[in-house]
Structures are given as C-alpha cells and as structure tokens.
C-alpha cells in the first residue's frame, strides 16, 4: 500500500480515532487528505481571493465543484478550470481527453449545460517526445470535446523547455443553467438515497494521491485512465435530464467514491453498501471500490421515491445505475460490504486535515546581462517563435462550431465569443505567462489577470468572473512555495482592482521535470465577460496604427529575454492603465472607430504586428512615436501591460479620447495592402519567410 500521508498526519489520525485504522481507512484518509482533494497547502492563501460580488451566485468559499455568476434573464454562468498534467505526461491522449471529461462533469454537477471549452496547452521542446506529447494531447482533447458535442472555442499553445517532462494541459468549461435550478454538490438533510451511475473498474486506482506526488515511473500504471467520451456523452445527457429530480450531484473525480460521498455528506454521515456498486470486474476488492477513480460516473442524492425514476433514465441507454446507500444524521462515513464494515470514520476527521503552511523563501533572481542583439535578428527570432505562429493546426482538430453559437471562433481574435441562450454575447479567454512568473510571481499574478481583462476588451467585453489554476512544483520547497504565495497575492490584488470575483479554481503542485526541478511557476486564469455594447468583428484592413498606452523598457520575463537572456527590468503592472486603456478600446468599438485591435502581450509590439503581416499587409512604423522608452528593443519587444494596438481610420479620435482619460495614445504608423514588409523608420525588413513560417510551422513540425 503506497500512502502519501506524512508520519505526522498518520499520528493525528491515530490520536483522533484512538485506534489503529484499518487498511481501507488509511486509504480513505489518504485520498481525502491528498493535496489534490484537500488543498491542505493552499487553502489558507486561497481565502484571500475576492469571491463576492453582486453577481456572484456560488463562489470559491462555497468549495463546490464550480462557481456561478448571474448573467441576466434568470440565467447563471457556471465556470471551472482544471488541469490534467500528470496523466497527460504518461498517456497524453487519454490524459488530455479524460481532463476534458472531468471538467465537463464538474459543470453538469451543477445541473448546467456545458456550452464551451477552452484548452491551454504548454509543452516543451518539439523533439520526438515533444511531438508525440503535443499530437496526442490535441487529438485527445478533440476526441472528447468533439464526441460529446461541446465546442472548444479557444485556448493557448505555448512552448517552453521547462515543460519537457511535465506538459501542462489545462481545460476550462463554461456552462449555462437557469439560476433557480442550480444543483448543489452537498446535501442538507439525512434520509436521501445515494445513487451511483456508471461502472466502477480498476482504472485510475490511486489517482488523487498520484497527482499529489511527483512523477516517478512505473508505479503509475494503475493510475492510467482510458477516455470513453461515448459514455461521457450519455452521462452528460442523462444527468441534465434528471437534474431537476435530485437534491445534490457530485462527479466522481480524484479519490473516487471515498471523496464524493464524504464531500457530498458535508458533515452529515453516509452508509454505502459496496456490494451494490456496479462493477466492471467481479474481482474488485471493497477497498479498491472505495478509491477507484473510474471516469464517467456520477453520484446523486435522491429522495427515496425518486430513485426509480432517475435510474430508469440511465437504463434506457443501457447505462448502470444503482441505489448504493444513504445519507445519515450520524456524522460518520461508513463503507460496508454485505453488512461487514470496511471503513468507518468520522466525517469531520475526513473533511479537516491539518493544514500545511510550509516555509517560504523568495529565490534571488540573478539576471545575466544580455548581449546587444541586432534588431533584424531579434525580429526574426521573435516573429518565428512557435508561441506566436498560427495555431490552426491545433484548433482545426476541434469541432468549434457545434452548438451553433460560436460567434468569434478560434484564431479570429484574442478572445472567443459565444452566444448565450438569452441572446447575450459571452467572451472567454485563458491566460498564463511562464516567462514573467519565473521572474516575479507576484507581478505575474497581476499581469495575467490584467491580460485576460484586456483580451476580453479586444472584442468589446468586460470581465464578470474568473477562475484560476495554480500550477507549481513541490510546495515543500521554500522557493516554490514563495512563488505560489506571491502569485495568489498578485491574482487577488488584480481581481479586487477590477472587481472581478474569483468564483473557482484549482491547485496543481508537484509539477517537476525528471530531475526534480520545478517547472516555471505557471498560474493561469480564465476570465469570462459580457459584451454590453457592440461586438468587435476585428477584420484586418488598411488603416492607421494607433498604440494605446506607455511602452516601458521592461524586457526581463519576456519572450525576448527567454530567447536572448538579459533584459533589465521586470514589467510592473499598473492596473489602472489596463483599466483605462480597456475602457478606451471598448468605447472605440462601440463608436465604430476600431477596424481591428489586439492587446500587447507575448512578443511585445512586434508580436502584435504579426497578425497584420500574415494577412498580406505591410506595416510601416515610426519608432519615435512609440513613447515611454528610447530603447528600440524595448519599443518592439517589451511586454508591459496597459497597451493595445488598434487599426483605425480615425487616429485623432483615439488621441483625443486618450488625452481626456489620462493615458497615452499615438499614431505610430500604417498598414497597407502591398504585403510582405515591416518598415521601421528607414529600415525595411522583408517578412516573407516569417509569414511562411507562421502558416506552416506547426503543420510542418507535426
């Protein structure tokens, strides 16, 4: 038996119980006290995230499976993000696919219909292994999302050697449910029956403790889970069909039945008759049944008289469904097999592990001075970097049109936009920035929230809610833990500033390479927003280029410094700039002044010019009009926030409005149809091979 409990934790269990736990009881505690399920090393800090607001219906402090906000007309938006990093490292196809299945079940647990998925993917070098990982991750996401008919409407794809052994596979899902039919994950009264749908098998034994441990080799085999989107589709359809008939729903995720039952009882007790659990293999032991993490299962709390009606809907699809036990007033979680007790533990013990606050210490960041990089070389390197190339190879493998509501599709803009059943337009975007986080996790935490906010503004939307996912190395390493704390502080500060509630999130520790080095800290946020006025259509055409915001020579923690080293200052996010600049862009969109726009982020101004160049246009820039620094490299590659690049036929309007709002805006050049060149002052850089690379890189490499 491999347990992840520390000896101290085991002592606590023995002391509270006053006896030596049975083997199954150890496993139960191990699952519930795993980092993955209990947030024991992170909970204290997560409490600092702002989780309230006039529109919030369900938020992080409720510790439910997903958060929810009001989007008008009696509808609620349910939002959740999660990763499947460790499973994807060993079986990228099934790992990524089951990640999608898992996030979907979080959404349907609330009775909400999933309407959109996002995938944020980070892999390392594109060597043989990297290609294998990426190909299979993308195929796996498509396999599940396509098969269940939920469109993947956007995402990210980034390449960094820090992820060579530990790819990051983040998926987010948005769902819609009528406000007064949201189903809770927890029960309030004893006497309800526990109903389980789906077979339980061997697969995924020990997954939760697996995710809370570093990757170590062959003993992970038991944790392999095979994706079955066909079963997933049945679970989605039927769960939504029965949602109105049940009192609580919980998906079975990490920790299997052990965690689902205990968390659903939420302080009340439960009796589970394990012999009633529908099994795929007859020879599964009672202990294994408790912690098996077989996918495509749901747990329902149901009034006794409704059990038959609920289960009959599953059986119509030939899908197993059984009454396996009940919620009790006695606050004990009891698993029994043919009347024989297998495990019997107080709810309270299971639900409240001792919290960990590990020693934390900020690593000193020593930056080697960078060499002088000629502009032409820098432009070439940045503009051909895989992070900036067309991602069509990836998103064309997703059915992003299913649902007939994808208004702004992948590749069309910085945010995706979907039409809600009430006719409103919802914008979605996920953002992370491993370069900046590796330099300063606090600044990075702020910056990714600001970036998501700006990305929503580019389509005319204002953020209304966000979910975060915090991905770090081993929390017992003081530098890693400090980065984690800093990132939470940054995210918290920025979301408070923008008044955007954090309605959910997830923590993933132990992301390390095979030598035990942590990945670059990679917190990620997914923001949802509503378009209040006009939707920006963002079609590139001839026009004047206006740069909104001040450009500072802050090259540390950028794509430039990742490639060339050095870099000087780290970008200090001034959130007020992001807010005002976003206001200006949204106003411009509503007044018909914006032909096309993009926020400035990866690759700096140069990176923002790339989409124009790739659509057959040339751009001519006058560097003296890029204000804020005299360094040409800074002007072109700094990634500091608060900035947008706008194509417009009325640059004066932007300059006038910016002046009134107290920010910078200047006409820096023009885009013209005679394609293929970037002209900076008197120097001309041919762009043919850059454009060619943009379209062919991924297709050619994979």
């Amino acid at each position: 038996m491999i347990l992840t409990l520390s000896s101290g934790e085991m002592e606590v269990v023995r002391r509270v119980l006053g006896r030596e736990p049975r083997e199954a009881e150890w496993k139960l505690v191990d699952a519930l006290w795993s980092e993955h399920c209990s947030y024991k090393s992170s909970k204290v800090f997560l409490r600092s995230l702002p989780s309230t607001g006039p529109n919030v219906i369900m938020s992080v402090e409720d510790w439910q499976d997903a958060g929810a906000v009001d989007v008008g007309n009696g509808l609620a938006l349910v939002l959740k993000v999660e990763s499947h990093n460790h499973p994807s490292a060993i079986d990228p196809f099934n790992g990524a696919a089951t990640g999608v299945g898992g996030i979907l079940r979080d959404i349907i647990s609330k009775g909400a219909k999933p309407i959109a998925l996002l995938d944020m993917i980070r892999v390392g070098k594109l060597d043989e292994k990297g290609k294998w990982l990426l190909r299979n991750i993308i195929a796996g996401i498509g396999f599940y999302g396509n098969s269940v008919g939920v469109p993947v409407v956007g995402g990210e794809l980034s390449f960094d050697e820090t992820y060579n052994d530990n790819p990051l596979v983040d998926v987010a899902c948005a769902g819609i449910v009528s406000k007064d039919s949201i189903v809770p994950s927890v029960v309030k009264e004893p006497g309800l029956r526990l109903v389980l749908a789906g077979f339980t098998g061997l697969d995924g034994l020990g997954g939760a403790s697996f995710a809370s441990r570093k990757l170590s080799g062959m003993d992970e085999i038991g944790a392999v889970q095979i994706a079955d989107p066909f079963a997933g589709k049945i679970i989605i359809d039927v769960t939504l069909e029965v949602a109105k008939e049940v009192e609580a729903i919980k998906d079975l995720g990490g920790g299997g039945l052990a965690v689902a039952v205990t968390e659903m009882a939420n302080g009340l007790g439960a009796v589970v008759n394990l012999e009633k659990v529908p099994l795929r293999f007859k020879y599964l032991s009672p202990e294994d049944i408790i912690i098996s993490e077989t996918q495509e299962r749901m747990l329902f709390a149901v009034k006794p008289e409704r059990v038959e009606s609920v289960c009959s809907k599953f059986r119509e699809y030939n899908y197993p469904c059984e009454d396996i036990g009940e919620i009790t007033a006695d606050p004990t979680i009891r698993f029994q097999y043919n009347g024989q007790v297998v495990a019997e533990l107080p709810s309270d013990l299971l639900l409240s592990p001792p919290l960990n606050v590990w020693p934390a210490e900020r690593a000193s960041r020593r930056r080697e001075p960078g060499r002088e990089v000629p502009l032409g070389e820098a432009l070439r390197a940045i503009l051909t970097h895989p992070d900036l190339v067309s991602k069509e190879w990836a998103y064309s493998q997703f059915d992003y049109e299913v649902g007939t509501s994808t208004v702004v599709k992948p590749g069309q803009a910085d945010s995706a936009v979907v039409e809600l059943p009430n006719g409103k337009y919802l914008a979605l975007k996920g953002d992370a920035n491993q370069d900046l986080c590796a330099e300063d996790a606090y600044e990075c935490g702020k910056a990714i929230v600001a970036e998501a906010y700006r990305n929503l503004a580019t389509v005319g939307a204002r953020g209304i809610a966000l979910v975060d996912h915090l991905q770090f190395g081993d929390p017992r390493k003081p530098n890693v833990y400090q980065d984690f704390i800093d990132a939470v502080r940054g995210i918290s500060e920025a979301s408070k500033f923008f008044s955007i509630p954090v309605v959910g999130g997830k923590v993933s520790f132990h992301n390390e390479d095979k030598n035990g080095n942590p990945i670059k800290p990679t917190p990620l946020v997914v923001m949802a927003g509503l378009i209040e006025g006009k939707l920006a259509r963002n079609r590139i055409d001839e026009g004047n280029l206006v740069l909104i915001g001040e450009t500072r020579n802050e090259l540390a923690g950028t794509l430039f410094s990742r490639i060339f080293g050095g870099g000087g200052e780290v970008a200090k996010t001034k959130l007020i700039e992001d807010l005002i600049a976003s206001n200006l862009v949204i106003k411009g969109i509503n007044e018909g002044k914006v032909i096309w726009n993009k926020d400035i982020s990866k690759g700096g101004l140069a990176g923002a010019l790339l989409p124009i160049l790739t659509k057959g246009f040339s751009v001519k820039i006058s560097s003296s009009h890029v204000v804020g620094t005299s360094s040409v490299l800074g002007k072109m590659f700094s990634e500091n926030g608060g900035r947008f690049l706008v194509l417009t036929s009325d640059p004066q309007w932007f300059m006038y409005q910016a002046g009134r709002m107290g920010i910078q805006a200047s006409a820096i050049g023009k885009a013209t149809r005679d394609g293929g060149k970037l002209v900076l002052d008197d120097e001309t850089f041919p762009m043919d091979s850059v454009v060619e690379n943009y379209y062919t890189f991924l297709e050619g490499s994979l």
Binding site: D203, V224, F230
Partner: protein
C-alpha cells in the same frame, strides 16, 4: 527474404477498452447472445520487410515500435508475429 510482420497493439489486460465494450454491448451480444466473453479492439500494423530470419524480422519490428512510439507501453501491450512471404503478396 521477405517477411510479413504483424504488430498488434491492444490495451493491456486491466486497462479499459471502451471501443471493445461498446461493440460487445451494442452489437455482438445481440447477435451471439451468451456466447462472447469479451471483445477488444486494437490496431494492427502489417510491415512487409526484408530480414534474414523470422527472429530478426520480429526483433526489428519490435524495436521500431519501441523507438518510434508506435505504442504506449504504459497502456498497451504489443504482440509481434512474423511469417515468411512466399510470393510477396498477402
């Protein structure tokens, strides 16, 4: 000499096979009720190759599968079978 090598990739025992399960549940069981214990679905790669012996053909193919990730050893089991090809066709 020419060999026809079959490389069969199936999920390991104990690892689920939803395709096989679905096929069994919705197709096979209704045609052959009660007769079928299990259905598994996998991939087969048939390589027609030059080798000096059956053993060599199998060894080369197995190495190919391992080096070039034609299967994932964590999930799949591999079966390799070679036989001599008399006339080059099959």
């Amino acid at each position: 000499m020419m060999y026809r090598v079959e490389l069969i990739i199936l999920n390991k025992d104990g690892v689920r096979d939803p395709e096989g399960e679905t096929l069994k549940r919705y197709v096979v069981d209704s045609t052959l009720p009660g007769k079928v214990a299990e259905v598994r679905v996998g991939k087969i790669v048939v390589v027609t190759m030059e080798a000096s012996s059956r053993e060599e053909a199998e060894k080369l193919t197995r190495e190919l599968a391992e080096q070039r990730r034609l299967y994932n050893p964590i999930v799949h089991k591999l079966q390799v079978r070679a036989e001599k090809v008399e006339d080059g066709s099959d």
